[in-house]
């Protein structure tokens, strides 16, 4: 049974969500502010965090920042106020794996949790498969990314996206495909998740040694990992 850490200052909402998620057979722990959430982290070892952005004491974004400085892989779903694009973008920039705007359909939340968890557990047994494109090497089994033999830390979502881009290096990957395969959900209206993850990837991977970009934006369609013969 997957463990979920739910961090939200709305106590009643937490209770309701806990009941709902338990009925979906998750184990749920609740923390009512960011600091308490971080404290729970070491005792509970959750598989996934669902966290509100607007919270007293330590808000969601700061909590996420702190969390990411210690633990890179733990998937995080952020709950944002609707229409607050800035929060979404900042959240994704800081390495959230997904976001949902409040009020949301709890089924949607549970579907996203399942998608993220499935993504992680599914990929793990993958034997000794290795993707290599030029100076980048990916080991899906150990979730390791080597750029020029130097290990680079990526979040779970970034890792998935990069894997798909490298698998189809030199081909255009549509945003739909990337969302469905890497985030295991459907592309939504105004969905900028992929764009933000790509932007993070670009920052973390930096340009190629010859100064050219790695990931090209194909306007209106998606992205492409550039290889030397297609530039």
């Amino acid at each position: 049974m997957a463990k979920i850490l739910l961090i939200d200052d709305d106590v009643e909402l937490c209770e309701l969500l806990k009941e709902f998620l338990q009925s979906e057979s998750f184990e749920v722990t609740i923390a009512n502010d960011g600091r308490a959430g971080l404290e729970r982290l070491s005792d509970e070892h959750p598989d996934l965090i669902v966290m509100d952005i607007m919270m007293p004491k330590l808000n969601g974004l700061d909590t996420l920042k702190q969390l990411r400085s210690e633990n890179f892989d733990l998937p995080v779903i952020m709950l944002t106020a609707r229409g607050d694009d800035v929060d979404k973008i900042v959240g994704l920039e800081l390495g959230a794996d997904d976001y949902l705007s409040k009020p949301f359909n709890p089924r949607e939340l549970s579907a996203r949790i399942k998608a993220i968890l499935r993504r992680i557990t599914e990929k793990q047994p993958d034997s000794t498969e290795v993707y290599q494109v030029e100076d980048i090497t990916i080991h899906p089994a150990s979730r390791q990314v080597l750029v020029n033999d130097v290990e680079t830390e990526l979040t779970a979502a970034e890792f998935e996206i990069l894997t798909i881009l490298l698998k189809f290096a030199g081909e255009v990957c549509s945003k739909q495909k990337l969302t469905e395969q890497a985030l295991s959900r459907k592309l939504e209206l105004y969905d900028r998740s992929i764009d933000m993850h790509i932007s993070n990837l670009r920052k973390k991977l930096a340009a190629k040694p010859d100064g050219t970009q790695r990931i090209k934006t194909i306007r209106g369609i998606g992205y492409m990992y550039l290889t030397r013969n297609i530039q």
Partner: protein
């Protein structure tokens, strides 16, 4: 702000030039030799009379002593001699002239100047005396009898006056230039600061640039900074308040949404249509809260911030991609027609995007399935004109203006089946008007509604 600098400079300089010329003219008139000849004649006659009287009353010795302390008009000299040309009293007669007279018995005639001499003879105490009054034009001192020979040729040239005039003009011009700069420069700086605030940059402090001054302009600068701080504060408080309202209103909705889901699990699934209805109403309320908050942000002009150069062609393409993505299921499509690749406006991207999107969404909503909505972008009189035409039922003529009012629904669609919050077009109107644009609706030639948005172009960046 070259205007103010130029104006101040030109006006100050002109005033200075006029003052200099006037002073020069008047003073030159005053020192004109001929002008006072008549007056001097009178004065001389008066002096002869006075001196004769004094000589009679005081005697020669006393008169000579008194004369030393006597005040005489400028340029007048006096010589009193006896019949053997012995000097009894002298005042202000230049030595060379006196010497010449005593040696030769004649008065010299210096070059180029008129030396006026009047003489009168008296008989006092049985002595024959002659009193000379000389009035010497200034030039007698300056030129012919000056002890500084190097100065002479220079001073006498006609270029001297021109040189002095030129120097005066140059110096006054320089002073006026700095004065004009001193006045116009802080205003240019303040204006730049005002522009910054207009663009939402409240942290640009202007007082620091005036720390060398301690006058009203420096005060104005610090007042200005205080004002922009105050605006920033109010703006932030407002934003926070709206955020809090949004959060507080939506929290119960979020709880209701989870609760309704829990109910569904607990009851028979076939009876859940009322619960679905509750959920629909929750999401409708959620939309409404979002729109009301956006609308109130707009009506308070607090959204005048974050303006940037936007390429309308790209923006519309992006919006159309988004709305078409949503409309795929109903086979309604928006089509974009334009002959341009780049039309720049200076605006808040989010607002313009919302404005255009709401119009497009509205058009799609009222279109029949399997029809297209056309969006066109054209230019006219430095304005971008975006026209969105649908093939829906259109709007009765008398309601064309009202559709932009908040919560207005045309009589045909009052049943709310069409969905929406009733704020979409009102938000569009506000957002467009905040950008000095215009939005209008009219019925198309065949059928359907045409909404036309006009937005001022930022510069001539059209391709």
């Amino acid at each position: 702000m070259k205007g103010l600098f130029l104006k101040t400079f030109v006006w100050f300089w002109l005033t200075t030039i006029i003052t200099i010329s006037a002073t020069y003219f008047i003073s030159s008139r005053l020192t004109d030799n001929n002008r006072h000849t008549h007056d001097i004649d009178e004065i001389v006659a008066h002096y002869f009379e006075e001196f004769e009287q004094e000589l009679n009353e005081q005697g020669i010795g006393e008169f000579a002593r008194e004369l030393k302390h006597q005040r005489l008009p400028r340029g007048i000299g006096i010589l009193l001699v006896d019949d053997h040309n012995n000097v009894i009293a002298v005042k202000r007669v230049p030595k060379p002239i006196l010497q010449h007279y005593l040696d030769t018995g004649n008065w010299p005639e210096p070059r180029g100047v008129k030396l006026n001499i009047k003489a009168k003879a008296f008989e006092i105490d049985a002595r024959q005396l002659t009193l000379f009054i000389l009035w010497l034009p200034k030039k007698v001192h300056a030129d012919n009898f000056d002890h500084r020979p190097w100065f002479k040729p220079f001073q006498r040239t006609p270029g001297w006056a021109a040189f002095r005039l030129l120097l005066a003009l140059l110096v006054s011009g320089l002073i006026c230039y700095f004065l004009a700069r001193y006045i116009s420069k802080p205003i240019v700086k303040l204006r730049a600061a005002v522009n910054q605030v207009e663009q939402g940059n409240y942290d640009n402090k202007v007082a620091a640039e005036f720390k060398n001054r301690s006058d009203e302009i420096a005060d104005l600068a610090s007042d200005f900074d205080r004002m922009s701080d105050e605006i920033k504060n109010q703006f932030q408080q407002r934003e926070e308040l709206l955020r809090d309202i949004s959060h507080e209103l939506r929290s119960p909705l979020a709880r209701m949404r989870v609760a309704s889901e829990l109910i569904k699990e607990k009851i028979d699934a076939s009876n859940s249509s009322e619960i679905d209805r509750i959920e629909r109403e929750i999401s409708r309320l959620d939309d409404l809260i979002g729109e009301i908050i956006d609308f109130s942000k707009l009506t308070n002009q607090s959204s005048q911030v974050n303006k940037q150069q936007i390429n309308l062609v790209e923006l519309i393409q992006q919006i159309i991609a988004d709305v078409n993505f949503e409309g795929e299921s109903t086979h309604k499509q928006a089509i974009f027609n334009t002959s341009y690749t780049r039309v720049d406006i200076y605006a808040n991207k989010t607002l313009i995007m919302r404005a255009i999107e709401n119009v497009l969404r509205n058009a799609l909503k009222y279109s029949a399935n399997d029809t297209n909505v056309t969006c066109s972008l054209a230019l006219e009189n430095h304005q971008a004109i975006i026209a969105v035409a649908d093939k829906g039922p259109g709007v009765p003529e008398h309601e064309l203006e009202q559709i932009f009012e908040p919560f207005y629904r045309t009589s045909k669609s009052r049943d709310r089946k069409s969905g929406g919050t009733g704020l979409g077009l009102a938000i569009s109107k506000q957002a467009i008007e905040v950008h000095q644009g215009e939005i209008k609706a009219n019925n198309g030639e065949e059928h359907g509604l045409v909404v036309t948005i006009r937005l001022p172009l930022s510069t001539q960046t059209i391709q």
